[in-house]
């Protein structure tokens, strides 16, 4: 996994609330045994109709809206634990997702795949949607190092929270699995005195 660098980009707004992982990637597309290619089916049933034609009006089919940030309504990523949802978002080209809150498992899955979930107040989220509505070319600066999100050169400027360990992992592209493998001796010691009744 390569490290997360600071980005400057435009954003795609999806103001629906409670977007579940079945919408992000429907179960019938989970049959792959690799992590690649899920972007093609991101929001599949919102993007395409049963005849596989693009659905007009869905934001990803609208050429006006582009960028590496997805902005979504509250409780994004609820439902299933499928990491395929994070893989689909990343594979499509999003590096950041902004919402007023995220479902726990999705948030972890995103972080484990180099995607930064940024939680903002409901009011800030509303202002971000308005800014994009007024100008689809609104630029967003995300600095993970400083934990700041700046919209249109200062129109909105906030700091966001991230767990220090996860931040370090993201910046250095560090892998949590390698980290745990490096702890095997300590775990082995724990395991020897641990009893399951």
């Amino acid at each position: 996994m390569s490290g997360f660098t600071n980005i400057q980009t435009t954003a795609v707004p999806l103001p629906m609330e409670d977007i579940d992982t079945d919408q992000i990637i429907p179960a019938r597309f989970l049959k792959s045994t690799s992590k690649l290619g899920f972007g093609e089916n991101l929001f599949r049933d919102w993007r395409y109709n049963a005849a596989h034609e693009k659905i007009d009006g869905f934001i990803l089919n609208n050429e006006t809206y582009k960028g590496e940030i997805l902005v979504a309504g509250r409780n994004f990523g609820c439902g299933s634990s499928r990491e395929h949802a994070a893989w689909a978002i990343g594979d499509y080209g999003f590096k950041v997702v902004i919402s007023s809150f995220f479902a726990d498992i999705f948030k972890n899955n995103a972080l484990n795949n180099g995607i930064l979930p940024i939680t903002v107040d409901q009011e800030v989220l509303h202002r971000i949607f308005t800014a994009i509505e007024e100008n689809p070319k609104t630029t967003f600066d995300v600095s993970l190092t400083h934990q700041t999100l700046t919209v249109e050169g200062g129109k909105i400027h906030i700091t966001f929270d991230i767990d220090p360990f996860k931040k370090e992992c993201l910046i250095n592209g560090m892998d949590t699995i390698d980290y745990l493998i490096s702890k095997r001796a300590v775990i082995e010691k724990f395991q020897q005195q641990h009893i399951v009744y």
């Binding site: 103001p15 629906m16 609330e17 409670d18 579940d20 079945d22 919408q23 429907p26 179960a27 019938r28 989970l30 049959k31 792959s32 045994t33 690799s34 992590k35 049933d45 049963a50 309504g73 509250r74 409780n75 609820c78 439902g79 299933s80 634990s81 499928r82 990491e83 395929h84 994070a86 809150f101 995220f102 479902a103 726990d104 498992i105 972890n108 899955n109 484990n112 795949n113 767990d163 220090p164 360990f165 996860k166 949590t176 699995i177 390698d178 980290y179 745990l180 493998i181 702890k183 095997r184 300590v186 775990i187 724990f190 395991q191 641990h194 009893i195 399951v196 009744y197």
Partner: protein, 462 residues
């Protein structure tokens, strides 16, 4: 210091504190299935590492399996590949597997408890959000993503931040015809689909204590539907009786286990981040009207005209379902009834359905299928003659698997059709593209199958 049931289990599984928040949490039992594990095994191969502790992981094929003609090869080539991949991975890495032809095969959250693998005081994970089911035994059980599946395979641990804690008390007793499923749908409707996000929930109170283990599993199963990391219930005599005849861990007598399990309670003065209390008498048979499990109403209530969610989200949802605000679902004709899933496919669910439909016939306008949660549930149902009762009522009894809960295998509901389902999610397209899901209890589903429409099962029981 006073501690909760959750604290007591959590603290016993901390291997190391990494920083102020992150810990390395030891996992006692890891369940895997074919959908969320292949990429994790690939990761192990790329790193050239073995499974750290093969005795603590067990696999089964459930999401992709057909529920008819399981003796024949799987038709869908991609499903077949994924199921075969699981077998190959388990063989290569030395992990125990209950494959499609094994007598213990079934939905991962049904087989763990019935095989005695799910026990009080344990930490349990699986690459599946409904892992919360196992919390019914007084264990910390939660769903994880595939990267975390790989963490567990590689180290028997996951990196975790301690969640906040919530307690939900249900006082008093449930009415006749109202079940554990109604109880949890009621709670989710009250809290909302994100109402418990960031929290682990302990369920308590008289109504919870009165539930069977199967009922408790139904409640804990749906904790994730209000965003909770998991849900758990303190083990008691009901739990101990369920586990009495199950296989014990090697070298540990049942009375030794019992002594430890009895310590698993929340101290009286323990403090939760948030607490809710509800009155069991206020709970009625529940149905959902929208496209998330929080959009639930009592059977005799109308679809609300106001909501905390934005108008656009609610309108989209109602439009998908073909409903209007103010509509009452009672009396509405339906097309399908699905009785199954990790929420309601245990033997008790099948017994309840069979008892209700005995001597009755399904309505002509409805197609009904019942999918047992495991091969053992199917075997037990046959032994008790439930298969005959189902067949004579026109209910099709299929073979074990996740079936129409998630639209991944052959079992799907056609676009635009209404299905009363005992599963856990009514998301858009969950049961197949365009399918319209109405979540309900097994009893309400059975009553709908007989009547051909949504009915208040309490009236039918009188």
């Amino acid at each position: 210091m006073s501690t909760t049931l959750f604290d007591k289990i959590w603290n016993k599984h901390i291997v190391e504190q990494i920083d102020a928040k992150q810990i390395i949490l030891y996992i006692d039992k890891h369940f895997i299935h074919e959908v969320t594990s292949p990429q994790a095994f690939d990761g192990l191969r790329q790193r050239n590492v073995k499974v750290f502790n093969t005795s603590r992981t067990v696999g089964t094929a459930d999401h992709n399996v057909p529920t008819k003609n399981q003796h024949l090869p799987i038709q869908d080539p991609l499903s077949k590949k994924q199921v075969n991949q699981l077998s190959e991975n388990c063989k290569e890495f030395g992990v125990e597997l209950f494959d499609l032809h094994h007598p213990n095969q079934g939905i991962v959250h049904v087989i763990g408890p019935e095989l005695g693998m799910t026990r009080p005081g344990m930490t349990i994970v699986c690459g599946d959000s409904h892992t919360s089911t196992h919390g019914a035994f007084g264990s910390i059980a939660f769903g994880i993503g595939t990267s975390e599946v790989e963490q567990v395979l590689a180290s028997q641990c996951v990196l975790q931040v301690k969640p906040k804690q919530m307690r939900i008390k249900i006082n008093g007793q449930l009415q006749r015809g109202v079940s554990a499923k109604d109880l949890i749908l009621y709670v989710i409707a009250k809290l909302g689909v994100g109402g418990a996000t960031g929290h682990f929930v302990e369920y308590a109170g008289e109504a919870i204590e009165s539930l069977s283990m199967e009922g408790r599993m139904t409640v804990c199963n749906m904790s994730i539907e209000m965003g909770a990391r998991g849900g758990l219930i303190a083990p008691d005599q009901t739990t101990f009786n369920y586990l009495k005849d199950k296989v014990q861990p090697e070298g540990i007598r049942f009375d030794e286990s019992l002594t430890q399990w009895k310590k698993l309670t929340t101290d009286e003065s323990a403090i939760f981040d948030i607490e809710y209390e509800f009155d069991a008498a206020d709970i009625a048979p529940m149905v959902t009207y929208g496209t998330n499990p929080g959009m639930g109403i009592k059977i005799n209530e109308a679809i609300p005209s106001t909501s905390e969610s934005s108008n656009a989200s609610v309108d989209k949802s109602l439009n998908y379902m073909g409903f209007n605000k103010g509509k009452i679902l009672e009396g509405m004709p339906i097309d399908y009834v699905f009785i199954g899933s990790c929420t309601n496919a245990r033997i008790e669910d099948l017994r309840e359905v069979a008892q209700y439909i005995k001597g009755k016939q399904k309505a002509e306008n409805v197609e009904v299928f019942v999918v047992p949660g495991s091969q053992l549930v199917a075997k037990q149902a046959k032994k008790e003659g439930l298969d005959k009762i189902l067949a004579s009522a026109g209910f099709e009894l299929r073979q074990a698997g996740c079936s129409a809960c998630l639209g991944m295998n052959e079992d799907k509901i056609p676009a635009g059709k209404y299905c009363v389902s005992t599963s856990n999610r009514n998301f858009e397209g969950r049961q197949g593209p365009g399918a319209r899901t109405i979540l309900a209890s097994p009893l309400t589903a059975a009553a709908a199958a007989i009547a051909g429409k949504i009915v208040d099962v309490r009236k039918e029981l009188n």
